[in-house]
Symmetry: C2
Subunit: 450 residues, 2 copies
C-alpha cells in the first residue's frame, strides 16, 4: 500500500456524485452509487451522501465543490465518454482551478485499443486522452475512457476526487485496482456494520420485538428496512477504538437481536439464497414450471453461485400447448367449460408434471425433490371479471407426495405481479423446507393481495 | 384538476431526495428516483438533481432546505416507516418550521388496515399517523404509511414538498393519485424529450455520424448514452413557446438523426423489445434452451407485454442429464473424451432439440420458427484452463434449416457473464431477423470479449 506523503488527510467520509442527463431524466438507473457505497463501508469509510446531476458544466462544478466541502473523498462516475455531452474532465479541471492537457500515455492506450480491434479510432475519442494538468489518469483495460485522480483544496483540507467511467464493468475494476490503494481509512475510527435478515415478520412486528435495541442513540445502532418479504436488520458500530472493539460490540448486539427474533432469522441475504441454503442443508433439489413468470423464478435461483447443486432446471410453458406437451397438463383443463390455465387444477398439474419429468445430475437421471409452478395473468391484457390481471396460482409438489396450490391477487402492473409471484413461489417452498405452517410465513405476502 | 389558490408558483424544476441508511450504505438500490424523474419529464417538469442522505435528522433537514432553494417542488421518498429510524415526518416538520400532530383520519386508516387483516396494530405504527400541523396526509391504500404534502418558504417563493413512502408499490400509486393533480407544470415552457435507439454502432461511431447535431448549444439538444449494446440518442427541446412548437423542433431533429444513423435505428427501447418487434412484423416465433443463463433469457423476453404472441417458452436444462432428457443432446457429448456441455456441438444440439420440441399456440401444437440456446460457465466455479469462467457458447437454429453457433468470452463475474450472454443471444436472433451480417451487428459485443 502506497501512502502519498504530500497530503495525509484521513478518508473518513465519502461523497458520491453520479453524472448524466440519462440519470436525472430517469432514462437510466444508477447502480454505481450502491456498489461504491457498499465497497466504501467495507473499507471503513462512511458514505455520507449520493448526488446525481445532469450533464451541465456549471452544475457539475458546483456539486463537486459542495460535496468536497462535506467529505474527505469524492467519487464521480460518468461523463468520461467521447461525446460532447461528456463534461466530467472539464468540470474536474474547473472545480480544481486547473486546465486540460493531453496525456501521452492515455492517447497511446486509445490508439492501441482501436488498433487491437482493427478499427480506425474515431476522432471524437481524442478528448478521452485529456486530463487536468495536475491530475493523473487511471488506466482502463475495459474501455476507452481513462479515470482521473485529482485533489481539491477546501480551506486547510485537501480532498481527493476520483472520476470513474459510468459503465459498471469499467468502473468496478478501476475502483479495485486504482482507487482502493489510494484510500486512507482512519485506522483509529473503526466503522463496522452487520446485517441479519428476517423472514415471516413485518417490519413493525420486528421493531416491537427489538424494542429499546432500536433507540436512535444506542451504540451499536440498530435499524430496519423492509423489502419484498424480507426485513433487514442493520447493526452499525461507529466509534473511536480499534476494529476488534467494534466487532465485539456488534457480537453482543447480534446476540440480543437473535434472541428477540428467533427462528425468523435467515442466514441468507434474500429469499432465493435462503431457499438454496435450506435445500443444501437438506440435500434436496428443485425444478420449476413457469408460465406468467416466464423464466424469472429460475433466473432468481440461478443468479446465485452454486445453484447447480440443488437446481435441476425446468420448463417454460408460456402457451397452453406447451403446458400439455411438455408437462402433461390434461388438454381438457383448457376446454371452454374447463377451469383454464389460471386455476388450482392447472397449477397442480404443472407442478406434478414438472416433478415427474425434470431430471437432475450429470450421469444417472435423478428425480427432483420439489417442483414449483406458477400460472397467472401478469397483464396488462388477458384479465377477465373472474380472473382479473394479477390473479396468480402457485403450486408446489414434492416427492413425499404432498402438494399445495394457492391463489394470489397481486396489484401494481406486470413487473410487480411477476416479482411478487417469484417471491410467493419461493416462500411456499421455504415454508415446506422449514417444516412449518404456510400461513404464518406467507402472512407478509398477504399485504399485497387485493 | 384542482389548482390551489394560496400559491401559484409554477413547477418548472424538481429535486428528488431519497432517504435511508440502507441507501447511503449501499444495502439497497434506489429505483424511485429514476421512476419519479421519468414521470416528471413526461409531465413537463425538469428534474434538476437527485440526492440521497442517511437517516440523520440534521442532514435530512439541511438537504430538504438546500434542494428547495434550487427547485420549485421537492419529492422525498423513504423514512415514513414505523420504526425509530424513520425520521422524514420529523425532518419535514423541522424544515418547514412546524411541529408534529396526530392526524385522526390517518389513525383511522391504520386501525382499519390492521382490523382488515385480523391483526392487532403494533404500538410502533402509531407514529405513522403523525404529520406536521400545516401539512396534509396523502392516503396510502397499499401500506400503512400515509404520504405528506407540505410547503416551504424560500425567500419570496413557496416550494411544494411531497413525502412519499419508500416501497415502489406504495410510492408509485400515491404519486399518480395524489401528487400528479397537485403539480403545476409551466404551460408556456414546454419541455419535450424524445429517444431513438441505435444497435450495432458504438457510441463514438454514432457521435461521428451525428456530427454538429451534438453541439452543446444546439436546440433541440442531442445527447447519447451507451448501455449493453444499445446506444440511446436523447433529443430534448426546452424552450419558451407551446408544446406544439417543441414537438415540431423535435420532428426536424429526429429526421436529421434518422438520416445520419439509418438502418441502425431500432424502434424499441432495448434489445428484447427490438427482437419482439421484428418477430411480430415477420409473424415468427421463438423458443429458448438455457443452461448458464438459467431463465434470464426467457425472463428478458417475457418481461414485455404481448410476448406471448411470439414467445413459445422453452427448456431450462441446467444439468447435463436435463440437456439429454429434455432436448435430446447426445450423452456422448458429455463423455470424458467428448467436447462437453460448453461446446459448439452442445449449443447446436440444444438449439435444434429446442426447435423440434418446443410448441406454440393454444390449440394445435404449432412449431416455432427459431430457437436460441446458451451454454457456458458463468462462474465463479467451474472454469478450466481450456474453458475459463466467462466462456459461453450461443447457438441459433431456425425452421429454414440454418443454424449458427458462436463462442464468447465475457469478463466481469457471474452476473455480467449472464447479462452479456442474454444480450449476445438476442443479438444473434436480431441479426437473423434483420437478414443481415452477424459480424457487423455483433461488433459492439466484441468489446467485452477477452
Amino acid at each position: 500500500m502506497t501512502t502519498p506523503t504530500t497530503h495525509t488527510t484521513m478518508h473518513r467520509a465519502a461523497a458520491l456524485l453520479s453524472i448524466g442527463d440519462e440519470l436525472t431524466l430517469g432514462q437510466s438507473l444508477d447502480t454505481n452509487s450502491r456498489w461504491l457505497s457498499a465497497r466504501l463501508v467495507d473499507l471503513g469509510i462512511a458514505p455520507v451522501e449520493h448526488a446525481t446531476v445532469p450533464d451541465d458544466l456549471g452544475v457539475m462544478v458546483a456539486a463537486i465543490r459542495r460535496l468536497a466541502s462535506g467529505s474527505d473523498v469524492v467519487m464521480l462516475t460518468g461523463g468520461l465518454g467521447p461525446t460532447a455531452d461528456d463534461l466530467t474532465r472539464a468540470a474536474l479541471a474547473e472545480a480544481t482551478g486547473d486546465h486540460l492537457i493531453e496525456d501521452a500515455e492515455a492517447l497511446a492506450h486509445l490508439e492501441r485499443w482501436y488498433a487491437g480491434r482493427g478499427r480506425p479510432m474515431p476522432r471524437t475519442n481524442l478528448v478521452q486522452a485529456q486530463r487536468p494538468s495536475r491530475a493523473r489518469c487511471l488506466p482502463n483495460p475495459n474501455g476507452t475512457a481513462p479515470g482521473l485522480a485529482a485533489t481539491l483544496t477546501v480551506g486547510a483540507r485537501t480532498v481527493d476526487v476520483f472520476a470513474l467511467p459510468g459503465p459498471p464493468r469499467e468502473m468496478t475494476p478501476m475502483f479495485e485496482t486504482w482507487v482502493v490503494p489510494s484510500l486512507r481509512p482512519d485506522p483509529s475510527r473503526a466503522v463496522r456494520t452487520r446485517l441479519l435478515r428476517v423472514f415471516g415478520l413485518g417490519e413493525s412486528d420486528a421493531a416491537e420485538r427489538l424494542g429499546p435495541l432500536m433507540d436512535r442513540d444506542r451504540d451499536p445502532m440498530v435499524g430496519t428496512t423492509a423489502s419484498v418479504g424480507i426485513v433487514t436488520i442493520r447493526m452499525r458500530a461507529e466509534r473511536a477504538g480499534n476494529a476488534e472493539q467494534a466487532e465485539r460490540a456488534l457480537d453482543e448486539t447480534e446476540t440480543l437481536v437473535r434472541a428477540a427474533l428467533g427462528r425468523h432469522i435467515v442466514g441468507a441475504p434474500d429469499l432465493p439464497e435462503a431457499v438454496l441454503e435450506r435445500l443444501r442443508e437438506r440435500n434436496e433439489t428443485v425444478a420449476v414450471a413457469e408460465s406468467c413468470t416466464g423464466g424469472m423464478l429460475a433466473a432468481s435461483i440461478t443468479d446465485r453461485p452454486g445453484a447447480s447443486s440443488v437446481f435441476a432446471g425446468g420448463f417454460l410453458t408460456y402457451s397452453n400447448a406447451a403446458k400439455s406437451a411438455l408437462l402433461g397438463v390434461p388438454e381438457a383443463l383448457f376446454a371452454p367449460e374447463g377451469p383454464g390455465a389460471v386455476s388450482a387444477e392447472c397449477a397442480i398439474a404443472m407442478a406434478r408434471g414438472c416433478l415427474e419429468r425434470a431430471v437432475f445430475g450429470s450421469g444417472a437421471h435423478e428425480r427432483v425433490t420439489h417442483a414449483l409452478s406458477v400460472t397467472g395473468i401478469a397483464g396488462p391484457d388477458g384479465g377477465s371479471e373472474d380472473k382479473p390481471v394479477g390473479t396468480v396460482w402457485i403450486a408446489r409438489a414434492s416427492r413425499d407426495g404432498s402438494s399445495i396450490a394457492r391463489r394470489f391477487h397481486f396489484a401494481g402492473g406486470r413487473g410487480a405481479v411477476r416479482d411478487w409471484s417469484v417471491r410467493a413461489a419461493l416462500s411456499m417452498l421455504w415454508a415446506k423446507l422449514s417444516d412449518t405452517d404456510d400461513l404464518t410465513l406467507l402472512r407478509e405476502l398477504e399485504r399485497v393481495e387485493r
